[in-house]
Point group: C2
Chain length 288, copies 2
């Protein structure tokens, strides 16, 4: 898993050179090379290998999903959104480069994601499917839907909001891109429709798992430990799993999702499953 993250970091470094317009590329690099966990690109690479594909085929796609994830973080942190000053232990992009450059660099990352993706050595028919899958995951059927619901739910009484709403937010805001990352890897890797659906099922569990753990960490850890502002969901009056179902039940839910995720990929070659099991454990047990 660590070697996959290093592969991604090297590829991202190459994919975003420090060229003109300099300030925009500086901001793009600042935001994306700040040392994230690279969960989405690792998922993409591992899903490709799971179905028998070569890692090299999906490097561009893996970079693309991380570019889109980074764009969404830049956007989330903006003053008119979550208004956050700290991300991955460093000042947020708009704090360093100003709001307009932050917004432009987010848009540039999104555009580059699609451009970079199309440079992969992948048959055109598969590539069109991949472009569609990625686009769907970031629009009003995915990321944007989650962000919109998240914003409109701020400040509501947890008693007035059901698990259903909370799940809607997370399935869209975090889950959709994680799911797309895995599915894209499996499509590029040459998986059968049945295999792709198994990978999708696994990714859905991982997506929710990721978010429940995130919510628990936000409530139980300090900003220093997290590298981002802790307790901010509390302050913003945001819905979280601990708030809606309590801390203990949230921890039980983590165990359930971990188990279910692994069940989805049981039938695959045991060696090839290892990176995805490692990723699942990492997500469940992480401290930041």
């Amino acid at each position: 898993m660590i070697s996959k993250a290093e592969t991604i970091n090297r590829a991202l470094d190459e994919a975003i050179p420090l060229i003109e317009p300099l300030n925009i590329h500086k901001a793009m690099r600042y935001a994306i090379l700040a040392g994230g966990k690279r969960v989405r690109p690792i998922l993409c690479l591992a899903a490709c290998e799971l179905v028998g594909g070569e890692e090299r085929l999906t490097i561009q796609a893996a970079c693309a999903v991380e570019m889109i994830h980074t764009m969404s973080l830049i956007k989330d942190d903006l003053p008119c959104m979550d208004n956050d000053d700290l991300r991955r232990g460093k000042p947020t992009t708009h704090k360093v480069f100003g709001e307009s450059v932050a917004i432009l660099s987010g848009g540039a990352l999104l555009a580059l994601a699609f451009e970079h993706l199309t440079e992969a050595d992948v048959p055109s028919k598969k590539m069109v499917r991949v472009v569609k899958e990625l686009a769907k995951s970031i629009g009003t059927k995915g990321l944007v839907a989650g962000q919109a619901k998240d914003l409109s739910s701020e400040g509501l009484d947890p008693n007035d909001v059901g698990l259903e709403d909370l799940e809607y937010i997370h399935v869209h805001k975090t889950g959709a891109l994680l799911e797309a990352s895995a599915v894209i890897g499996a499509v590029i890797g040459g998986g059968s429709e049945e295999e792709i659906e198994k990978v999708r099922g696994f990714a859905r569990c991982i997506g929710l798992l990721f978010q429940v753990v995130d919510d628990i960490l936000d409530e139980t850890k300090s900003s220093e430990e997290l590298g981002k502002t802790a307790g901010k969901d509390q302050v913003a009056g945001k819905l979280t799993y601990p708030k809606v179902m309590g801390l203990e039940k949230s921890k039980e839910f983590v165990k359930k999702l971990k188990r279910e995720g692994k069940e989805h990929i049981q039938g695959f070659d045991s060696d090839k499953v290892k990176p995805l099991i490692a990723l699942t454990n990492f997500i469940a047990n992480r401290n930041n």
Copy 2:
């Protein structure tokens, strides 16, 4: 040309239904159905027909370029960018829906553009080329590069800025997407490489023509006539053609670009050239 605009308006209306998340789709529809000139999608449709393709093949692509254009307008108008209250004669999107919904709806339009594009009945190999062409036109090789330079040039003394800088801004900020619109139409329409390059040359002239006329209008018309804040380039200290080369020389430049644009498409079937000639004249002679 009018019938093409109507085709586009109907297709856009269908492409963005009023579904959940409601507020985001309302904002997307508000921004895109506000009655723009539809120059980019018309260019896309006409370029497809010019090289012998059927209009229906490129409807989705035409909608996609208008979605991206609209996204760029929403972004340009934001408080941290040009901070504009009026667009196409109506309050700007963030004025009506708030800044966060405006930013989310812009992102949603961008995502939908790529998703919608991939739904066209176009061979995969061509589609991959089209996706790449579109992505390139909106990132740091296109739109974003122009917006970045535009922002960083604000308030500079016109004497310190050359025509070169001004052209850089316009070639990227306006030209890149106009060029992509035409090239995409020609690719989908089945144009040869030679034909595609002719269309590209035509679109480059049109892109610059469009911007020079825009600059002249900004200086000579009222807000009411324009449907957007007039003289705002003056106020923001922005570079414009009249400012750098004077009003008369700008008008001469318009004539030159008009002539050169038409020269690029001289060899094509005279009937099929007509919509592009009409578009060129419309852009050169428009009053808003």
